[in-house]
């Protein structure tokens, strides 16, 4: 239920057992291997970067092949799959697949090259299509576009960059070259293109060409040998060929769909081997032996020691880590508190000497989350939904399962607070009963309805805040005591308890303060003055002890500055007013939705309208308020609560293990 104690593990064994030992460690996943630097010439390190980059290439290839398969032979997947984790694979399956690894890799490269072929041919088809389009104006021509004339005539095939009719062409040519006899045929004409064939006597060819050029006549660029119609047929045939190649290639790819699982295996297999080779590169080797050093949780050590010394000739040693070592952190918690470790991890793992705040945090987390979401309907939905997921998807990944569990517990708390404050999808009970049954029914709240008495709710929220903050301070106290630092325990915690607690009690004894909070009772003045003195002692104590400098004047100034932090407590306590605001937001927005739904009145159209508005509106509200509660619950933990005692930021324990994507590799025993 806490931070696990770490030990340094040192292993010295024969090199021939190296692979087997590393595989054992990998399968167990309890040892983090350190990168050892070799200090003398007796040891050397193996460079495995070549092998690792080879595995990386294979992984990339397999992933490409998988992507291709997803395009041409898509796999059906349901929403539930998202929550289903990796499949388990037995040792025999593992062995058969491992033997086939080169084959699978070959298949992967075949799939990838087929995909490349498809892409190339698709580009080819586009190119051919563009050629056919460019040919369109010349389709009226029934000779080759390269046709240059007969024995006695010269032929000019080409185009003007404008729209001209026969008359205009003849007219212009007559002006440019009156001596030439032209025979012109227009076979295509559009707004900016006129395609013609011009025949002239061969001896007048030069003059004719000049006259045509003068009008902007241009021959087609790289004309084909065949007449346009024939050439088009050729191009079309090429397109069909390319399409056929594409079809057959896609078919072959689709026929490989059974390769998906082997490919998944290949990715995992290479990932595992990469991890192992990475570990190898951290070891120190001599000619016949190797040396390994790493961290292991103390609780896992005996089992590993037993297994290793049973199977190998090995020298094992467990050492307590020294003070200045960078020891990684591993947490282990029970079922109720464990879901919150994810939230803790996203803030940072406990430093040395700090306790694991998960158990206390878990309780407050569920409590405050429920208070902010506070609706029976939403909470029940959340709890039931996540509960079903937890029951149905046994194979969920640990991280996902943790998250789902977190929301399960939060859902239960939400539903409970919903009953306390009488919020059932906002005020759906009242609205439905008064709109459709003509008689308003209200479920009375177990305690009170926050909207009717927001001040009471505000005071409640801030009281919770004070409790939460003081718990945080209490943890700091415990940490100081554990480190036998009584001075810090008193100056950093007890004095603050006196100051803040005293101020609060003092406030409660004044008329002004209680009337602001609309409290009915004011504490007697005597209690107030005692509390005031306690606060004053606390304040003076803080000024004189909380400074850290050697220079007494600077220390005094620092103490004053520390005292100024009391405003921080004020803002921290006020910050808990978000419990009220978010709690109200859920209920009121829910009521708005119900009210809108009931605007259709009684009757069938009214009911239909109500159901529609209810479903859509509450879905949206559910999502937004869930997000709000999650974010602000995190904030209260991170900023207000952790601010009182927790630093965090230690390195996470990352053992050599099997970090695969698709399969779980079961242990034999």
């Amino acid at each position: 239920m806490a931070v696990l104690q770490m030990q340094r593990i040192n292993i010295c064994a024969l090199k021939k057992d190296r692979k087997a030992i590393l595989e054992t460690l990998q399968r167990r996943g309890v040892v983090e291997i350190c990168d050892l630097s070799s200090q003398d010439n007796a040891f050397q390190k193996d460079d495995t970067s070549d092998a690792r980059s080879q595995f990386e290439k294979t992984i990339v290839l397999a992933n490409q092949a998988l992507e291709t398969l997803d395009v041409y032979a898509p796999e059906k997947s349901s929403l539930m799959d998202m929550f289903n984790g990796r499949e388990a694979i037995t040792t025999e399956q593992y062995q058969t697949y491992a033997q086939k690894a080169p084959e699978i890799e070959k298949a992967a490269s075949e799939i990838v090259s087929l995909a490349k072929k498809v892409a190339e041919n698709k580009a080819e088809i586009l190119k051919l299509q563009a050629q056919i389009d460019a040919l369109a104006p010349w389709m009226g021509l029934d000779v080759s576009m390269q046709f240059s004339g007969t024995r006695c005539t010269a032929a000019f095939i080409g185009s003007f960059p404008e729209q001209l009719n026969l008359e205009q062409i003849y007219e212009k040519l007559a002006q440019a070259a009156p001596e030439v006899t032209f025979h012109i045929e227009i076979f295509y004409s559009s707004r900016d293109l006129t395609c013609i064939i011009a025949l002239v006597p061969r001896q007048q060819a030069a003059a004719a060409e000049e006259a045509l050029r003068g009008m902007g006549f241009a021959k087609p660029a790289s004309p084909p040998k065949e007449p346009p119609k024939e050439y088009q047929a050729i191009l079309e045939r090429q397109i069909t060929d390319a399409a056929q190649i594409i079809d057959s290639a896609t078919e072959t790819i689709a026929s490989h769909s059974a390769m998906r699982e082997p490919l998944h295996f290949l990715v995992d297999y290479c990932t595992m081997r990469m991890e192992k080779y990475d570990a190898i590169s951290r070891l120190l080797n001599t000619r016949r032996t190797f040396f390994l050093s790493g961290y292991i949780a103390k609780v896992d050590a005996p089992a590993l020691e037993a297994e290793l010394s049973k199977n190998f000739d090995i020298a094992l040693e467990f050492v307590e880590p020294t003070e200045d070592e960078d020891v990684p952190c591993l947490l282990r918690n029970n079922k109720f508190t464990e879901p919150v470790t994810g939230v803790l991890e996203s803030y940072g793992l406990p430093q040395r000497g700090e306790i694991d705040p998960t158990p206390i945090m878990a309780f407050f987390y569920y409590f405050l989350f429920g208070l902010m979401f506070s609706d029976f309907g939403y909470g029940a939905l959340l709890a039931i939904g996540t509960g079903i997921l937890l029951l149905k998807c046994k194979n969920m990944e640990p991280g996902t399962r943790r998250m789902i569990k977190l929301f399960f517990f939060c859902g239960i708390s939400t539903a409970a607070w919903g009953i306390v404050f009488s919020s059932y999808f906002g005020d759906v009970v009242d609205i439905v009963s008064s709109t459709f049954f003509g008689r308003e029914v209200t479920i009375p709240p177990l305690w009170f309805a926050p909207l009717d008495d927001p001040m009471k709710m505000l005071v409640f929220s801030m009281t919770l805040g004070v409790i939460h903050l003081f718990t945080g301070l209490g943890i700091q106290f415990y940490q100081h005591v554990k480190a036998h630092n009584w001075y810090a325990a008193i100056t950093k915690v007890i004095l603050w308890y006196m100051l803040v607690g005293g101020l609060i009690v003092f406030g409660l004894s004044t008329e002004m303060f209680t009337s602001i909070l609309q409290l009915t009772e004011t504490l007697p003045a005597a209690v107030g003055s005692v509390a005031g003195w306690i606060a004053a002692i606390g304040a003076v104590g803080i000024v004189f002890t909380n400074g850290e400098s050697k220079n007494p004047f600077v220390r005094f100034a620092q103490g004053l500055y520390e005292l100024y932090n009391v405003t921080g407590y004020l803002s921290d306590i006020l910050s808990y007013s978000r419990l009220l605001a978010l709690g109200l937001a859920t209920g009121v927005v829910g009521s708005v939705i119900n009210q809108m739904g009931s605007m259709g009145g009684n009757g069938i159209p009214g009911v239909i309208l109500f159901v529609l508005v209810f479903l859509i509106g509450h879905t949206i509200n559910f999502g937004i308020e869930l997000l709000g509660a999650y974010v602000h619950c995190n904030r209260l933990q991170f900023v207000e609560f952790f601010g009182k005692f927790y630093e965090g930021g230690r390195r996470k324990f990352e053992p050599l293990g099997v970090h695969t994507k698709y399969y779980k590799f079961k242990e034999d025993n």
Binding site: L451, P454, M455, A581, L582, L584, A585, V589, V631, N634
Partner: protein, 161 residues
Amino acid sequence: MANMGMAFAILGAAFAAFLAGMGSAVGVGLAGQAAAGVVTEDPNKFSKVLILQLLPGTQGIYGLLIAFIALSQTGILSGEGSEISLVKGLMYLAACLPMGIVGYISAKWQAKASVASISLVAKRPEQFGKAMIFPAMVETYAILALLVSLLSISGVTGLPI
């Protein structure tokens, strides 16, 4: 002129709803642009950046909340429309202003923090927990404004003016 009080009360509700709503619309839009950019690079980050995009959206909801409570106090929702004195109407208007104004500005600035957090998540997705906190810090002030508006409205209702 008889029911100017009612007019001012509704004006207050309108202020709360439209100012805060505008702020959230601007904010969610701004953050959405950044989020879409991240998703073009890595579609797997969709759920994370979506959460960050939605953070500046809450001010609009708080605005709606205040508007709704103010409207329900005037009785306009039930169609009865009781008489409200001019002073009381102006009080409702004043009570709604914090939510409207702070809602508008905080949503805009929260969106800027969100955009920065989105680019944080784009580069270091494992820091999502921290990235979420930065925009949430800005929201505190919207919540405080909500609180002031809420307490004012419920206070004004009880006054015998």
